[in-house]
Amino acid sequence: MSVATAKVLPGRARSRGAVRSPGGALGLGVATLWLSVIVLLPLAAVVVASLDGGLGAFWHAVSGRQAVAALRFTIVVSLVVATANAVMGTLIAWVLVRDPFPGRRIVNAVIDLPFALPTIVAGITLLALYGPTSPIGVNVAFTQASVAFALLFVTLPFGVRAVQPVLLELDREMEHAAASLGASATATFRRIVLPNLVPAILSGAALSFARAVGEFGSVVLISGNKPFDTQVTSVFVFKQVESDNATGAAAVAVVLLAVSLAVLLGLRVIERWGSRHDR
């Protein structure tokens, strides 16, 4: 109806935008100013600082052996975590949507726990169970596996919450048709359900990856921060800031920023692709 009104009265629709201040140019100005002061200006300072010593210094900082090792480990472990979330997130979403077991609503609420729990508490928590004082005798503290554990903890909701709504909306007709034509449960899932979920799964994986690449609080204690082994990029940057090497820190931070931005951009493409799939 609103579309029809706008078509009949194009002049009024335009003036409405101008009159209602929050939605108009004033609102845009306020929003842009706030975003610029809080977010864009500080990030610009990082980019500028990374180039303080020229391109040569930038390259020197980024290609240092320790920086490269940290970046490589961060990206590899984040890819592993994103893949694990794609699989487990889909599985958990499936169970939550299609398997009406008792206590499902509680489990559904618990999924968001990592969003609510401070990251440093997540780190302490995992260290209590999988650290030196582990009550079950599993001590993986200060290993690469412990970093993966911490990242799996903090990124868990992304995979589940990306897939769950799509699965809820999915039309069951096709699945019933496939089943009535003799397709097995696995075949129906693989050929009917999965193709519909792919954009959502990818978007969940991308969000997990972006979060994992920059994660700090949950890994800072459990990783033990061993250079060339368990040191992740965010902790490396933190150490550089602490030792007053702001330029070096900024250079590596810019690489980290570029990786997250690339993922964010990829996510937009996935989302567009997903919505095209809908039509």
């Binding site: 939605g23 398997d99 609510a116 729990l117 508490v121």
Partner: protein, 268 residues
């Protein structure tokens, strides 16, 4: 789909087992460890002057950042959904940026802007204003990391409710402010509330960004999450667990609020 009962059960067990392994058992272990030395010990370690100061500082950061971002979030959501101005595409693309930036980079950025050698450093020093390694810097860090939550929650709700009622109100002679207060705001209230809960949780729990700009001056710039780390690295494990348990309690309250608000929002 009619999966075999055995297959369904297996999937359920895998899902629940994974959740237990990654989420629930660790949290349970920390709670058990916390209360092992007895309730009195726990109370003593979260009522030390340092702990009490950390608690109130944490609340202060959230109390400044969340209202500012709520106001900004509502305005931005209105611009993105209802606005008919050029440039909103760019705004839309940039709004999620804080989610993609590592907390450490946020802290570093603030140091580079307001720190001793930062862009505004000399000017600030001349006027005797300290931002980095004091509370204002921590406030800025908290605002940065919580910026997108309200926008992200309110924009979809605005899109869904449509603007029929707003147009009707405008036609009947309501002013822009009246329309917003009497029509738009009630329609988006659950979305706003959900965004506020998410921002508050993040503001209270933020560690990385605040850690870089705090300077960790005991009794001055230490928040609860920073206190957890400080106690842990000082081998005060029981103290770290007690502060963690306090934060976990806040997280559980948040979770409860999220669940309730979600149900209300769906019902409305």
């Amino acid at each position: 789909m009619t999966a075999r009962p055995s297959g369904r059960l297996a999937l359920r067990l895998v899902a629940l087992g994974y959740l237990a392994l990654i989420l629930l058992v660790p949290v349970a272990v920390v709670l058990v460890r916390t209360f092992e030395p007895g309730l009195g010990e726990v109370r003593a370690s979260i009522t030390t002057p340092a702990a009490i100061h950390a608690f109130w500082l944490t609340i202060e950061l959230a109390a400044i950042a969340v209202p500012l971002n709520t106001a900004f979030g509502i305005v931005t959501a209105l611009v993105l959904v209802r606005g008919e101005v050029r440039g909103k595409r760019v705004l839309e693309a940039l709004i999620d940026l804080p989610f993609a930036v590592s907390p450490v980079v946020v802290g570093l950025a603030l140091v580079l802007l307001y720190g001793r050698v930062g862009w505004f450093g000399p000017w600030l020093a001349e006027h005797g204003i300290q931002i980095v390694f004091s509370v204002p810097g921590m406030v800025l860090a908290t605002i940065f990391v919580t910026l997108p939550f309200v926008v992200r929650e309110v924009a979809p709700v605005l899109r869904e409710v449509g603007d029929d009622q707003e147009q009707a109100a405008a036609t009947l002679g309501a002013s822009a402010w009246q329309t917003f207060r009497r029509i738009t705001l009630p329609a988006i209230r659950w979305g706003v509330a959900y965004g506020v809960v998410l921002s508050t949780a993040r503001a209270i729990g933020e560690f990385g960004a605040v850690s870089v700009v705090s300077g960790k001056i005991s009794g001055e710039t230490v928040t609860l999450p920073l206190l957890v780390e400080q106690r842990f690295t000082n081998f005060d494990l029981a103290g770290a667990y007690a502060a963690s348990a306090l934060l976990a309690l806040i997280a559980l309250a948040t979770l409860l609020a999220m669940t309730v608000l979600h149900r209300r929002g769906d019902a409305a």
